[in-house]
Symmetry: C2
């Protein structure tokens, strides 16, 4: 198919740097830090304390002697610390979920991170850490609860964007980094950048917020809610204690479908998927044939795919079940729903942004309906009113929310320039 979305994905694939490429950071292994113990627990916003807390992170490039060349990337909902290069541990067992289970793709933002790329690892030291509550190496609901000896499940405390940033500030202390050159993230990662700028105004010289607004819309909350209800109402959810048993595959699959629809745009979906409809004589009389199961892979997920977009969503649902934990999905979407930067100003965003320091870059994408341009602009406006240095760009794109991952060329130009400005 020669549509613009596939053309771009194709282009991204053509430009994919193998682990031996001069533009790749090569094979990578995550590092781990123990950042909370009984003597020094992490006090969460909900009032509960948690320990032990392990944080998984990756680090590429050399830390400068002045420790002033660190770019910290904050990942989104289903991301992890494996931001660049190729995961050397993918074929090793012991980790229940893998972001890229096939070992055939580089890590999630490899297009932006590596020697000679926007986040040039021959000049900068790039850091990315997995969030609390995730299933990718940092403590989360699938970790063992020391109080019970079994996985936390839904006994894991609720976590917030504020908790994540607090924990990542501990990681910076642990690594001896006082100030980041740049904090950057898209989507829920962008909300972490906002929070870092408000909770620790001196810890980043530059802050780049991509496709993220100070608060998710009620529409976004509603879609996350429907997604979570699909998980908790799946009988295999078993009140969150499904580890070692059957997993809520149908629930998580439906949740992923709902999420994935919000990452694309109406325009992008029209361009990407055949919109041909069945002709009358092609209609199937066994439409909801109860014996058909998705892809015949033995999974518990029943699917009835007729249209291209349906098969696509089914593949997303099945793939997500291989790589993500349903409990983590519950906790991370809740953190997304809870976030409200205006709480730093008692509900007044302009008042909140008065705390901000550093140089800000805010980028939205025209077809993003999850974190809309209008929502992102509210952040830029609140910074402007406070006379803070901020650049706001609304990038023309048909890729919807996913544009922050796909619009590599424009982001590269934008961030290279922004980084140059920070070092003047």
């Amino acid at each position: 198919m020669s549509d613009p979305v596939d053309a771009l994905v194709g282009k991204r694939k053509r430009e994919m740097d193998g682990p031996d490429s001069a533009h790749s950071v090569g094979w990578t292994r995550p590092r781990h830090a123990e950042l909370a113990d009984e003597a020094n627990p992490l006090l969460l916003e909900c009032g509960q304390s948690i320990w032990p807390v392990t944080v998984e992170y990756e680090l590429y490039g050399e830390l400068s002697p002045a420790r002033d060349n660190v770019i910290m990337i904050f990942h989104a909902l289903s991301g992890d610390a494996h931001v660049a290069g190729w995961d050397a541990t993918w074929q090793e067992h012991g980790r229940p979920w893998r972001a890229w289970p096939d070992g055939k793709s580089p890590n999630w933002w490899d297009s932006m991170v590596g020697p000679g790329k926007a986040f040039d690892t021959s000049r900068y030291c790039v850091l990315c850490a997995n969030v609390l509550g995730s299933c990718y190496g940092t403590t989360g609901p699938s970790s063992t609860n020391p109080a019970t000896g079994r996985p936390y499940g839904v006994e894991f405390p609720p976590v917030t964007v504020g908790d994540w940033v607090k924990l990542h500030a501990r990681l910076l202390d642990h690594l001896g980094i006082d100030q980041l050159l740049l904090a950057v993230g898209g989507s829920l990662g962008g909300q972490q950048v906002i929070e870092l700028g408000l909770a620790f105004p001196d810890r980043a010289k530059g802050l780049a917020v991509l496709a993220a607004s100070p608060q998710l819309s009620n529409q976004g909350v509603a879609l996350n809610y429907a997604a979570r209800q699909a998980i908790v109402n799946d009988p295999c959810f078993a009140s969150g204690q499904y580890y070692g048993c059957c997993r809520p595959e149908a629930g998580l699959g439906i949740a992923r479908m709902i999420g994935h629809i919000t990452y694309l745009s109406e325009m992008g979906m029209e361009a990407r998927f055949d919109s041909g409809r069945k002709k009358p004589d092609e209609l199937r009389c066994d439409l909801f044939n109860p014996h058909e199961r998705a892809l015949g892979d033995g999974s518990g997920f029943i699917a009835h795919n007729e249209f291209e977009v349906e098969s696509y969503l089914t593949r997303q649902a099945l793939g997500f079940n291989e790589r993500f934990d349903a409990n983590s999905y519950l906790y991370i979407t809740k953190a997304m729903d809870y976030y409200d930067a205006a709480q730093w100003g008692d509900g007044d965003l302009v008042k909140a942004m008065a705390r901000a320091r550093g140089d800000w870059l805010v980028a939205s994408f025209t077809s993003d309906w999850l974190y809309t341009p209008a929502g992102c602009r509210r952040l830029a406006d609140a910074l402007c009113v406070n006379l803070k240095p901020v650049t706001y760009v609304n990038i023309e794109s048909g890729y919807g929310h996913d544009a922050f991952l796909l619009e590599v060329d424009v982001l590269e130009r934008l961030l290279t320039g922004f980084l140059k400005g920070l070092q003047r």
Copy 2:
């Protein structure tokens, strides 16, 4: 709360005409017609024939001696034939699902139909019939399959918008109505109006298509798919043979949530629901408490409501379970996904619309993202290219897709004028 959506809903409620009001058609009872039997089965687009077929319909006002004053209203996904007045049968048993189970509201488009209203029953004869596959009196998956003696369930044949219109043309024959003065419908009802205009070009003098485009977008298909997967993956779905057993309440509830989100607009949801977020000390530590069930009503649906929009969706999910059949939801959303008016022109909409006769009115709503203004306009454009008489209006509204039910004042002005033009 004094927000615009509630203000409007309030206004609508204030204007609600009781059954004794001079502006109400009063208490109504549906009528039934047997429109297919073994000697005269209904041949469906899928190639299967079906009999017997009962159609439930309502009729208000007097048929003129020339039988030229009929307005036929086509209902949307979850609508029924009870379009105006008050349902006199609501408290009678024997029908498993009720559109308005509480008997405290008039029928679904009472704001538009009645003496002195847009569809003035003192001048016009107003007809509305329930579609094939529904659960509101016309034959559907919950009807008895004569071949097995038990409800059809998913053995019901797939139905299409074309099948509905074909069946309703039989109803017009049965009632001795050659030509409608006006065919009008919103959403999936609007698609039936388009289909009537193409399959039976002489059967309507005027055709009013509200919030409906010639084809649902891939985004709409994707959302319907996620909704259906929630139903078929609910263990209580039991391959569609759940009648008399537990019903797939969680699945249908989640489907309704997804659907309902598409009926509102982002703007409308911001205006309608509190967007306040929990302060840190209000966070619940038992976020996914497994013992909590929605509203404590003993239903099988687990909910965890923190935000206003979540409680709203939960109420929608529970209410829908009282009034709709999950199998009907599967079949009717499939018909919605299948529809493509361009098939009358071998995939070319302009060629298809060359068949059209009569006067057309196409109205879209600015914040409707299910049937977008751009999509609706494609219909008007295709009529224009063919030099057919068409009026297109894009109505400014914050109510999203639901605007076709809520923007009563502007629709009343628009349709009163359009009706006047048809009688010149």
